[in-house]
């Protein structure tokens, strides 16, 4: 009985980890796209430009990277 419970728990962990890894892969692709966009925006600016778009994109990248980092911590620690 306990063996079955343990096996079921392990399967749950494995499924959660697999889902998390898929999310990490998706988020990484999104990070790359955002970073490409950010570079294009920054290349457009001059020393006198204050670009809200750059600020928003950088903020989005920061938040997304933070999320990915947290997911990775869980996955690396859990696996």
């Amino acid at each position: 009985m306990r063996m079955r419970e343990l096996q079921a728990k392990q399967q749950d962990y494995a499924a959660a980890n697999a889902e998390r890894k898929k999310q990490i892969a998706d988020d990484s692709a999104r990070l790359l796209k955002l970073a490409t966009d950010l570079k294009a925006e920054v290349d457009k600016t001059t020393k006198d430009t204050l670009s809200l778009s750059v600020i928003r994109k950088a903020d989005e990248i920061e938040r997304l990277a933070h999320n990915v980092k947290e997911k990775m911590k869980l996955t690396v620690g859990g696996s």
Binding site: K21, K22, A25, A29, A35, K39, K47, I61, K69, M72
Partner: protein, 154 residues
């Protein structure tokens, strides 16, 4: 310990002294805030400063630019150039790391998440924060188009 002794004859002069001190303080405050009264409700607001940092202070009567402000303007322009270079460099690094991370994560073996990848994501987060801060803290050396910024988080 001795208690302070108050003599009634001392009250009047001490009041005079405190009145004089208050007057001196008010005078000092007036000197410390030159032109404060000129900023009426219609004047443009640039955050904490009445005048944007680095913009020329021109004597309205003579139209002469003060030499100190010219040097300050040069210094701020140099700072702005440096800030821009640093921002471009940070963005390049960020893009490189994001490309590396994406390649590693979406490789043939997606089961292997390594601490090195975790460090890369942390570096991306820091670089993005740095770019955001550098763009937000743009030092204005020359007149620029200003977009309204959202209010700061408190």
């Amino acid at each position: 310990m001795q208690k302070p002794r108050f003599v009634s004859s001392n009250r009047l002069p001490s009041r005079w002294v405190s009145h004089a001190a208050r007057q001196a303080l008010c005078f000092a405050l007036l000197l410390a805030l030159p032109g404060g009264a000129q900023n009426g409700p219609g004047s443009p607001s640039h955050g904490q400063f009445a005048q944007p940092i680095g913009q020329r202070t021109v004597d309205s009567a003579s139209g002469i630019v003060e030499p100190d402000s010219l040097e300050e303007e040069k210094r701020l322009r140099a700072l702005n150039v440096e800030r821009q270079k640093s921002m471009v460099s940070d963005t390049n690094k960020l893009l490189k790391l994001a490309a590396e991370l994406n390649a590693e994560v979406s490789s043939a073996n997606p089961d292997s998440l390594t601490p090195a990848q975790l460090r890369k994501v942390a570096a991306i987060e820091k670089l993005a924060h740095s770019v955001k801060e550098k763009m937000s803290a743009a030092v204005r050396g020359t007149p620029v188009y200003r977009q309204p910024l959202p209010p700061p988080f408190r």
